[in-house]
């Protein structure tokens, strides 16, 4: 009797293992949380230093067009050209990619059948896996000359950036939309066909309608990717921090100014802090994209 009691009150090997496992995962989660929080803290404090330590105006930052943080005696930190550049390439590439992604996804799920999907799926996945520097390189050797000959200008500019980003976000949007199309219940298709609807009517009026939340989520994910892409865009956009007057003259984005400028500034000075402010804008925007997808995901069914 006592032996049983002793065994029951003693911690078994299994329960100790259990505890150890919990401890390890807790430690990992804490570490990740710490990393995320310190990144957030660093970017925010450094990014805000421009305005609080260096006394630059926040309003000027968002509205002025001249970016010259090392100018003497009065430094100029107008980030409007970069913000406009970033938003233009993002929105334009998403607008361009959306119809292609919709058509490809519908073809893969509802038209091509199993064999077609087997061929297309790896193709799409391969496109996701190509490093961005390769896209940039191709953009530089193919897209820039193409834009120069067809649309004029130097070839460097928002249009070239849009084309490169279009190819980069297309597979992301497509594969996400494929997943949400697959989640549209089969019985929607059956119900529609049994009412004498054609395949086109079924796709257009039933399947796409039912998958709109998924489509929006996919497009916003693509936009988040386009907004944050640095290397490939930097290689083709021309890197002139002036407000672009058209799509074929050199421009810049938040990311391209960051990558070109970060090595040439000294930590703690205004030129460096100003770059952190750009990073803060990027961070906030990706937060917004994230919240948007959550919000839509919560509302939508598929």
């Amino acid at each position: 009797m006592d032996a049983v009691k002793k065994e029951l009150t003693r911690k078994s090997k299994a329960s100790r293992q259990d505890q150890r496992g919990k401890l390890i995962s807790l430690a990992c989660v804490t570490l990740i949380m710490l990393v995320v929080l310190s990144i957030l803290y660093m970017i925010t404090s450094k990014g805000l230093a421009t305005f609080f330590e260096n006394k630059m105006s926040i309003v000027d930052f968002f509205t002025k067009q001249v970016w010259n943080p090392s100018a003497k005696p009065q430094a100029l930190v107008g980030a409007l050209p970069m913000i406009v550049g970033s938003f233009s390439v993002t929105v334009l590439s998403a607008l361009l990619a959306a119809p292609f992604a919709i058509a490809t996804a519908i073809f893969m799920v509802d038209i091509a059948g199993k064999r077609g999907r087997k061929i297309l799926q790896p193709v799409i996945e391969l496109l996701v896996g190509i490093p961005s520097v390769v896209y940039g390189f191709i953009g530089l050797t193919v897209v820039v000359p193409f834009t120069r000959t067809v649309f004029g200008g130097t070839g460097f500019g928002i249009l070239s950036g849009t084309f490169v980003l279009f190819v980069m976000v297309l597979p992301t949007v497509t594969s996400m939309y494929v997943d949400s199309l697959k989640a549209v219940p089969q019985f929607y298709r059956e119900a529609s066909l049994a009412l004498g609807a054609t395949r086109w009517q079924t796709i257009y009026k039933v399947i796409i309608r039912a998958s709109i939340p998924g489509l929006l989520t996919a497009i916003i994910f693509g936009m988040a990717r386009a907004f944050g892409e640095a290397l490939a865009v930097q290689m083709v956009i021309g890197n002139a921090s002036i407000l672009p007057s058209d799509l074929v003259s050199p421009a810049s984005t938040l990311t391209s100014v960051l990558t070109t400028g970060i090595g040439n500034t000294v930590l703690g000075t205004l030129p460096n802090n100003a770059l952190w402010s750009l990073a803060l804008v990027l961070l906030l925007m990706s937060l917004v994209f994230n919240l948007l997808t959550r919000f839509i995901g919560k509302k939508g069914a598929f």
Partner: protein, 266 residues
């Protein structure tokens, strides 16, 4: 008493003056190499309810889904399905027009994620009916025929997904009726419903048979005997017996049928 029933197969045929809504002759359905339905020859008299009974996997649903070509692309169908003197599988038959004439209601209620009104008006608009008052009229009359009108007439803009399962199923029936079909194919329409909803559904079907020909697959033998005029018993991809419901349940000609309807199966 010695067993006297030695028939293997017994299929009722109708005299020439009985109007036949739909008829299959030697229908074969194959899923790849699997011969899922063999030599199915049946006649469905107009303005009647025919029940298809049999164990799971006996081919009832396969047979039913072939009748309005919902098996296209899934299974290979040979043999004739005669509807108004035309073979529905013939090239000259427009599949979309045919499906409006031969409607289908599925096992699981499958309303679209739209309002009650739009669930019915949507296919009408797709057909090209533009006149709002005409659409309103069809929505009302088909909801009335499906015995749903009184329950939903106050709020037709409500989402169809907010209805109960039984109401959703009657909405799906109303949606099919709005196409003004000749024939309604029903694949276990009551299997996802509770007894009260099932009862309402059966009353609805009973009223509908005055204007429509109904072919219903059911797992419930009580339902088949209560509801149908004719019953076909299927087993292992073959039609074993087809007769009036009364004969099937009280005096079946084939031993297998008797075992099945009396519950001594297998």
């Amino acid at each position: 008493m010695l067993e006297t029933k030695r028939k293997e197969k017994s299929i009722l045929t109708f005299p020439a003056d009985r109007e036949i809504a739909l008829e299959t002759n030697n229908l074969q359905v194959y899923y790849g190499d699997n011969h899922a339905m063999q030599d199915a020859s049946l006649q469905f008299p107009r303005y009647s309810i025919t029940a298809l009974i049999g164990a799971s996997g006996s081919g009832k649903s396969t047979y039913l889904r072939s009748l309005n070509r919902m098996n296209d692309g899934i299974a290979r169908v040979d043999g004739e399905i005669m509807y108004r003197g035309l073979d529905v599988n013939a090239d000259e038959v427009d599949i979309y027009q045919m499906r409006r004439r031969i409607g289908m209601v599925f096992q699981r209620p499958n309303p679209f994620a739209k309002s009650i009104y739009n669930n019915i008006s949507f296919p009408l608009r797709e057909m090209g009916i533009k006149d709002k008052s005409k659409i309103d009229g069809i929505v009302e009359s088909s909801l009335k025929q499906a015995a749903l009108w009184d329950e939903v007439k106050d709020d037709l803009k409500r989402s169809a997904l907010a209805l109960s399962g039984g109401q959703q199923q009657r909405l799906c029936i109303a949606r099919s009726l709005a196409m003004s079909p000749d024939i309604l194919l029903m694949d276990e329409p009551a299997s996802a419903l509770d007894p009260i909803s099932t009862h309402k559904l059966e009353m609805t079907l009973n009223d509908l048979k005055e204007q429509y020909t109904i072919i219903i697959v059911t797992h419930s033998m009580e339902q088949a005997s209560r509801l149908s005029d004719y019953t076909a018993f299927m087993h292992m991809g073959k039609i074993v017996e087809f007769d009036t419901t009364e004969n099937i349940f009280t005096n079946p000609a084939v031993k297998l049928t008797e075992d099945y309807v009396s519950g001594n199966f297998g």
